[in-house]
Amino acid sequence: MCSKMISAKKGWATVSEWREFCVGASDSAADDAGLTVQFSNRRLQRIDVCAGDGVIELRSVVARRAVAEHIEDVVLMAWERNRASSLVGFRADDRGRLVGECWVPTAGLTRDEFLFLVRRAAAACDLFEFQLTGHDRE
């Protein structure tokens, strides 16, 4: 039986718990490190899941280094976008990639909330990728 909520008492999530949340989600395919979300227009977006220290962090690549470094003012654009963005923030990571991220404390986290955040992160990153590059590589 799929657990619908991560115990508030426990407060942290295991890989098996967030993967359980993905069971039955028709728009995503999960593995141990994350999941791939497919949109109705067949575009895809990979989301990496990092669970620990009382929060779950979701991260997705908007543009790889080789692409991002050729987009003028891409980092400033990301920080400016962050002013109006909800739940998802953008930055250049230590690999030079432009990434989108969101997080949520695990205590009391429900399946419904987790999938909402996954879909939100995927959509926000896919949109930014499309606006910057016109492609669907991530």
Binding site: E80, L87, G89
Partner: protein
């Protein structure tokens, strides 16, 4: 918010909604930074940590053009206070860390930013 070590970090909290769900946004100002001249330094300070920086590019006047801002979903009421506490701690600590790096001359108090923070969420500081 008073942090460990005695430093303070101003912030504002805004209630918002997204697709029928409530969320709380926390915005903490870092200050006025030369975004062009300090771009590389700012990037270096957030490369290894998932920090959401907010930049006001067409900045003409005001008390800040760089913020740390995050939001968190509200759900089960029994967990909301804990979620907001995590949000506050996360935002305030990162904003203070970045203030110390990029504007080390002072630990700016709320009154410096109060008028501009009041404009957040009203569309006046996009």
């Amino acid at each position: 918010m008073r942090l460990a070590g005695g430093r303070i970090q101003p912030f504002t909290l805004l209630l918002d909604s997204l697709d029928g769900r409530l969320l709380i946004r926390c915005i903490s100002p870092i200050g006025v930074v030369d975004l062009v001249a300090s771009l590389e330094a700012i990037q270096d300070s957030v490369r290894t940590k998932p920090v959401r920086l907010g930049a006001i590019r067409d900045f003409e006047d005001g008390s800040y053009n760089l913020t740390v801002q995050e939001d968190v979903l509200l759900g089960d009421r029994a967990q909301d206070a804990a979620r907001v506490n995590v949000l506050l701690k996360r935002v305030a600590e990162q904003a203070d860390r970045l203030e110390q790096i990029h504007l080390p001359d002072a630990d700016r108090a709320l009154h410096v930013f109060k008028d501009d923070l009041r404009q957040e969420g009203l569309g006046h500081r996009e």
